[in-house]
Subunit: 253 residues, 2 copies
DNA sequence: CGTTTGGTTGACGAGTATCAAATGGGGTGG
DNA sequence: CCACCCCATTTGATACTCGTCAACCAAACG
């Protein structure tokens, strides 16, 4: 399995999008590392409470849950790559994010009894069921952790709203590549050589572009020697120049 | 409805963005009404805990707080109209939302010790300081309430990401008008006759449009007899036709 | 094999951004 | 009270990005 590795320490971050910010207050006992902290925390706490670790395995294109279904559990991504998506009643779809190891699925529906979005696996993966109700009651730190995750998601979304609203196609693509690279690097992967798990259409949907525009943008960047594209494998060749593209500034409105 | 299958009837698109949603689970004691519930709850609980109610008055264009400042408090909007905005280091600004009575300012930075966005008053208003730390410790229901508000904000943001990514200019404007109308109505205002508190530029910024495009869109809608525009006063003349505009469907990507 | 799915590229047009100018209202100071 | 200016808004002309439609290719799959 591609994603299985132990997680090293927090490393560098790309721009606005990584969560460089961490409250030192609160959660004294639990946290110190980045994303995957929740995983090891669960591994430690669940046995202590006498709760079994429920694993759920999924294959590519399989739905973890769908919007409207009764919310039975929260899922922690342990391996694999997922997307969460909103679908309006007139069929418009919007991918709200790509989720990987350490991310929680279902957080956005915490206050409801039905899921608020679809969660779909993009390749085979494993989920850990998080017994939210029990943990909330028996472990006060957990509640704060959840709160922090929610706030982080809001800031992430706001940053994307800023990017999508002010940047051109190429800049959006580059921003995405940097974001993905930073997240992968935080999980111990290369950070230079990216293996996309989503189609051009899904990428375009997330960036509010058409699949053609994404393909063209990648081709342009490759033609300029900034990246190398081979299907879903992308190599960042010239980070400086790519950053320059972003700094070139978008519309200010 | 986009997200909330718990809500009964379709009333048209206005409801998509309003917070019609309320989990019946949890918060048993506290909630029943709409937004202003938190206000009356505070009014009841603060005296009970021996905490004074700190009011803060602000004038138009005055900053409540700025991104990066130490996070001293959460603010509940009691009166007035506010915007929250993100500013990237290269100067691009993005208004992340307009906040009115019952909304909380600063929620998105709960896990940090510095604010994550700017909050600016658009007219004179009054804020209530929320002693978050005390309430969290002494009142378990409060924590859940906060969690719910965070999750709701995420869904709101996602819905706007969907709208901005898939709708044309006129549809975005109509969506905004419906959303505003629904929120005002929930506060006991007309719902037909809207008094905008923001400039065309701010509206455009929020909708990822230029101020000219917003002006033109409003003019078009007025020319078709769907709305009446007089500066910042807007009257919804033909809700059905406006809904039709939305249903006409946007790009599907 | 044929079929399906994902990706690339081209030609063209629609929808907005951009630049520019004119209008109007509200406030301030004379 | 008026003149003036500043700001917000409206409207027009033009440019340009990106969406749309289409053809083609490659790989995967039944």
């Amino acid at each position: 399995m591609l994603l299985d590795r132990t997680v090293p320490a927090e490393t560098g971050h790309a721009a606005d999008f990584a969560d460089a910010e961490f409250a030192d207050a609160g959660c004294a006992a639990a946290s110190q590392a980045g994303d995957a902290a929740l995983e090891s925390w669960l591994q430690r706490e669940l046995p202590r409470l006498g709760l079994p670790l429920q694993r759920r395995r999924v294959r590519a294109k399989q739905h973890v849950f769908r919007a409207g279904q009764p919310r039975t559990a929260l899922y922690l991504v342990h391996a694999g790559f997922f997307k969460t998506a909103l679908v309006s009643e007139d069929g418009r779809e919007k991918i709200t994010g790509f989720r990987m190891r350490g991310d929680l699925l279902g957080l956005d529906a915490l206050d409801m009894n039905a899921y608020a979005c679809d969660a779909v696996a993009l390749d085979t993966g494993e989920l850990w069921e998080v017994p939210f109700a029990r943990l909330r009651n028996e472990c006060p730190q957990f509640q704060e952790r959840i709160t922090a995750l929610l706030a982080q998601e809001i800031r992430r979304d706001w940053n994307w709203m800023l990017a999508l609203g002010t940047l051109g196609a190429d800049q959006r693509v580059v921003t995405f590549l940097f974001d993905l690279a930073a997240r992968l690097q935080a999980l111990g992967f290369s950070g230079e050589c990216l293996q996309l798990r989503m189609t051009r259409a899904e990428l375009g949907n997330f960036l509010s572009l058409t699949l053609e525009t994404v393909a063209r943008s990648l081709s342009r960047l490759q033609a300029r020697g900034l990246i190398e594209v081979a299907g879903r494998e992308i190599v960042l060749r010239d980070r400086a120049a790519l950053s320059g593209l972003l700094a070139a500034g978008g519309r200010v409105h």
